[in-house]
Symmetry: C2
Subunit: 234 residues, 2 copies
């Protein structure tokens, strides 16, 4: 297999305090894979044999309920680990990561995980932090679901996406990957109808500008005010 360049991953916080030699040893065992839009990296329920790192692109992790309803559990951004099911004491993958944009992932066989933890406790600590943050996020989301109305939830979700995937443009901040109304609905626990209505209302007030699988935030401050529940008139 072709060598993988160190520089690809060196800047990631996950590998921040790892010496070069160690890093190279890790990369030697990795493989890479391109994933095209709409393709799944692996499938929910499938036996977990590898763990992954997203290098480039964007993934949405979906789960399907027994009744067939689909929801988006989270969005994977470049630099995030995902699919490390065996670290979580289960042998199948709990969700399906689908490419929302052209993506490149890196992966290792499960056995490598044990070695990493043994030889490089630092990395283990980092990984734990990552999971911890994810847990925080999940709790935040639960709290929002419990206590907030749809409009505020959607506002929060958009703000979060903006932070994580926003890209400054001339007339606002653009979310950097194809994102349909349906996606936002599945992220916030509503229907695409409601999301569409909300976006329309916001657009007429000049807060955002929508498009097909596109979203541009023009007035971050007003959006934040709405997320905090300040009755948004005008």
């Amino acid at each position: 297999m072709a060598d993988i360049d160190r520089s690809l991953v060196r800047s990631l916080p996950l590998f921040a305090n790892m010496v070069d030699a160690e890093l190279d040893r890790l990369l030697a065992r990795a493989s890479m894979r391109r994933v095209t839009i709409g393709e799944a990296v692996f499938e929910q329920g499938q036996k977990a044999s590898q763990f992954y790192l997203l290098l480039h692109g964007r993934l949405k992790v979906t789960q399907v309920t027994p009744e067939g309803q689909q929801i988006i559990v989270r969005v994977v951004h470049p630099g995030d680990l995902f699919g490390f099911a065996q670290a979580l004491q289960r042998d199948d993958y709990p969700g399906t990561p689908i490419a929302a944009a052209e993506s490149v992932v890196m992966c290792w066989p499960n056995e490598v995980w044990g070695d990493i933890v043994e030889h490089n406790p630092n990395l283990a600590v980092n990984a734990m932090r990552t999971i911890g943050q994810r847990l925080q996020e999940a709790h935040t989301r639960i709290r929002e679901m419990f206590t907030e109305e749809v409009e505020r939830r959607v506002a929060h979700a958009v703000l979060r996406l903006m932070e994580q995937a926003g890209h400054r443009e001339e007339d606002g901040i653009h979310i950097d990957f194809p994102l349909s109304r349906q996606d936002v609905a599945e992220l916030t626990g509503t229907t695409l109808h409601t999301v569409s209505r909300l976006f329309s209302a916001w657009e007429s007030r000049g807060i955002v500008k929508g498009g097909r699988q596109k979203l541009l935030v023009r007035d971050k401050a007003r959006l934040e005010a709405m997320a905090e529940g300040n009755a948004a008139d005008t």
Copy 2:
């Protein structure tokens, strides 16, 4: 400080593969504390200086929204770690654990955590599994919130409590700690009114038997059927 007996914690999965000497060393640095009903072990937002293990009793971890709404993030059962905020890259506690029953907790100063991870990667791995499971749970809950109606959510919550804190009795399974309607509401994201109504309806169908801060599941099968969405007639 009085020595803490090894047998107290030996049976916990968290310490499963730790040698006696190591365990003793850990216990030597621990302190213990009794918590009475309604008392908080620590407060949300407070600076995190220690991490904890619940030995006996039951805690409900609450969060308060900026608007003052309270929700129960999770229930801590004996043997669970909690309040290990610094492992999650934050220096304050994200929630307030309140004793729902007379409880006994064990705690260590934060510095111990680093030592543990260094000297005993096994424990770190176990801890990570714990967090991982918690993340799973959170995702399950999110999915339920998104897709299920109140009745099914409450059914699920009750079933989960039953698994984790159920105690076989003559005419059903009793939930082993004081649990008000309000608590259930805060666990499932509804109001106590709705919960009360549901319990009444269930009781009249012989599925559960309620009481003041008490709940007895008489017909687990029917409850499960309801949680799965099978229209519950009769």
